[in-house]
């Protein structure tokens, strides 16, 4: 029993504390200020995320707190920075869109902030209960923002669909967790691992881990739990889609890594085959299903399914270079996705958003600079050297080969070749088709995001050293 003298250390928990308290304050500002306060709340939300990032980098101390339920280590720190970047830019990119579509509300940045708190808790979860609560905090906020354009049938459908399927996946996750708890007697990750290490893996734990993997695979939209992704991505307002595609994916992958390596490490032989299957299925479906898409948001949905497959290759390898590969992959993926969505958000003609791929025709003549950067991002998504996406794939495939998963690596390379087709098709449409007319000028904040993403993607070779080093430090956490 804990008395007040041993209040748990808050030093590892500071970024979450800052973000959660800040979100509550902003909620009050918005509630009392009314609709007028939306720009103020939005600005403050972005600043708050930046402050939380600084606290995370310079003030929070590594360690375990709350009776082992919460952990801050180099891996958590790296993934949290990614999640914060994804969320911060998602708010920035929403400003112009929600003003033009008249859906600007102060609750939007507040919900994004609360979702971010959930993501940070997920990344730091060191206990089954903490993992579930973090996941649920994040998902619940995501369901709401997916339906935030409540007068649009598509948006409400996206929200409802996401909610119903998300609830189902939470159920599977909880069922799995209860089995793991029942057969090990622990909810804390290290204790689960040490109990499992003592003897053969009980069949109940195997059942449990399959359910847990299914639940988390839903959140990262890996095949066969991907069905919601295209509909939700298409239906949700575009800045929300940009948010969905970046930060929550990084958080869910981090949770995946921590649950499997941190707590179920001794059962690696059992989950490795499941992850291998999920990775292969996601890569193949992502590559083939995207070919027929006309809507660019749906295309990005399939693209993200494929990319999650590639990232999971690193997890299937289950070694240190695999984890390093995942970390680098997610960093590059977040950067590329934000850039691509900056372009999608800029596709506005005569005051209307357009979403068809054919609307991009002749972009190279109407907006040459944007077309060039977008082409580079697409090349990078396809994995063409020397752009960032190539290195992302290179690291995970290297890990797969190190772990002697040759089939997985070969299928991965082949499906990335297939995937290159639809990325290159967009480049072809932009450069060689007759112009479909100019878009409205790009708002400043989208220029900023696209510029940053472009610089990162094109000049990645110069960042590769420090990023790789940081990722390798982060990956050491588990080994």
């Amino acid at each position: 029993m804990m008395d007040l003298a041993t209040f748990p250390s808050l030093a590892p928990f500071l970024p979450e504390l800052v973000l959660a308290v800040g979100a509550l304050v902003l909620l009050m500002v918005g509630a009392f200020g009314g609709e007028r306060s939306t720009p103020l709340v939005t600005t403050l939300a972005v600043l708050l995320i930046a402050v939380a990032g600084l606290v995370l980098l310079f003030k929070a101390e590594d360690g375990v707190t709350f009776g082992g339920a919460f952990v801050l280590d180099p891996f958590a720190r790296f993934m949290k920075v990614l999640a914060l970047i994804g969320s911060g830019f998602a708010i920035v990119m929403s400003v112009n869109y929600s003003k033009r579509e008249k859906i600007a509300r102060f609750e939007y940045p507040v919900l994004i902030l609360l979702a971010t708190v959930g993501m940070l808790l997920m990344i730091s979860a060191n206990d089954l209960i903490a993992a579930y609560l973090g996941l649920e905090l994040q998902s619940l906020a995501l369901y709401v923002v997916a339906a935030s354009n409540r007068d649009s049938v598509k948006s409400t459908e996206a929200g409802l669909k996401y909610f119903v399927l998300g609830a189902l996946s939470s159920g599977m996750l909880l069922y799995g967790m209860s089995l793991i708890y029942g057969f090990t007697g622990h909810t804390q990750f290290e204790s689960i691992a040490s109990t499992l290490a003592t003897g053969p893996i009980p069949i109940g734990v195997v059942f449990g881990l399959v359910f847990v993997i299914s639940g988390i695979a839903f959140k990262v939209s890996a095949v066969p739990f991907h069905m919601w992704t295209p509909d939700v991505y298409e239906g949700a307002p575009t800045p929300v889609t940009a948010f969905f595609a970046a930060a929550p994916k990084a958080a869910a992958i981090a949770l995946f890594v921590r649950v499997l390596l941190g707590s179920l490490g001794p059962a690696a032989a059992d989950w490795q085959q499941v992850i291998t299957f999920i990775a292969i299925a996601s890569m193949i479906l992502g590559a083939f299903a995207a070919i027929g898409q006309r809507n660019i948001k749906r295309l990005m949905a399939y693209s993200s399914i494929g990319h999650m497959g590639f990232a999971l290759v690193g997890l299937a390898a289950g070694n240190q270079s695999g984890v390093q590969g995942i970390i680098i992959y997610m960093a590059i993926y977040v950067a590329m996705t934000l850039g691509a969505f900056a372009v999608i958000l800029f596709m506005r003609r005569k005051g209307q958003m357009v979403e068809e791929i054919s609307d991009l025709a002749g972009l190279s003549r109407t907006h040459p600079v944007i077309a060039f950067i977008f082409a580079m991002i697409l090349f990078s998504l396809a994995g063409i050297p020397p752009l960032a996406g190539f290195f992302a794939k290179w690291y995970v495939f290297l890990a797969a080969i190190e772990a002697q998963l040759y089939v997985l690596a070969v299928i991965g390379v082949l499906s990335s070749v297939v995937g290159a087709y639809y990325y290159l098709r967009i480049v072809k449409i932009m450069y060689f088709d007759e112009p479909a007319g100019a878009f409205e000028p790009m708002p400043g904040e989208l220029r900023f995001v696209l510029g940053l993403s472009g610089v990162f993607v094109i000049l990645f070779v110069f960042f590769a050293g420090p990023l790789g080093q940081a990722a390798s430090v982060a990956a050491k956490t588990f080994f």
Binding site: F70, L114, A141, S148, R150
Partner: protein, 202 residues
């Protein structure tokens, strides 16, 4: 002891019977009422286990809030459940198949169930001596000390749910006329009576 057993079978028998009635009764309002009966009997089982706090929570939360909410929804939505059930026979084979698979899984898992002695020896939380503390106190101690992190996070989840409900449904309609009591009280004009013709207004 015999009395104890009789009461146990009474409670559990009614629980199961009313649970069956929940899914089989034709009238949805009856379903909800049977659900409430099931909750009450489950609460009785908790009391017999000595878990009076859980019993009271079950009554307060499930009967007091959840079931009443169900009742409101069922009465207000006016869903035709007979129509919903129409495809029932059509989906019965696949439904039965899934049911059998789930049952088989449960049987396999439960038959392989064995508590390792070391698992029993190290539960996540030591069970306090129930003769010294009431179980309300025991739960409270755990919830507000060791589990404060989970408790607060759950609070945040509920906050998000609340914000979400407001964001998705609250609409400010400019033409709605609201009662302003201060204005009414502050009326300086003389109050007078009019004879209003039906359907005309003043």
């Amino acid at each position: 002891m015999i009395l104890h057993t009789i009461i146990f079978y009474l409670f559990s028998g009614i629980t199961i019977a009313s649970a069956l009635m929940v899914i089989s009764s034709r009238n949805p309002v009856h379903s909800v009422l049977f659900l409430i009966l099931a909750f009450f009997n489950a609460a009785g089982l908790f009391v017999m286990l000595g878990a009076e706090f859980l019993a009271m929570m079950l009554v307060v939360v499930y009967v007091g809030a959840v079931a009443v909410l169900f009742l409101f929804v069922v009465m207000m939505l006016d869903v035709d459940f007979a129509e919903l059930r129409q495809g029932f026979l059509q989906y019965l084979p696949i439904g039965a198949l899934i049911g059998v698979v789930l049952l088989a899984e449960l049987v396999i898992v439960l038959s392989g169930w064995a508590f390792a002695p070391e698992v029993l020896a190290n539960p996540v939380q030591a069970i306090p001596d129930m003769t010294k503390v009431t179980n309300t106190e025991a739960i409270g101690r755990l919830l507000y000390t060791d589990y404060i992190f989970f408790f607060q996070t759950a609070g945040f989840v509920l906050l998000v749910a609340m914000i979400g409900a407001i964001v998705l449904t609250l609409r400010h309609k400019p033409r709605v006329k609201r009662q302003n009591i201060a204005e009414q009280v502050g009326r300086t004009q003389k109050v007078d009576l009019h004879s209003v013709e039906p359907g005309k207004g003043i």
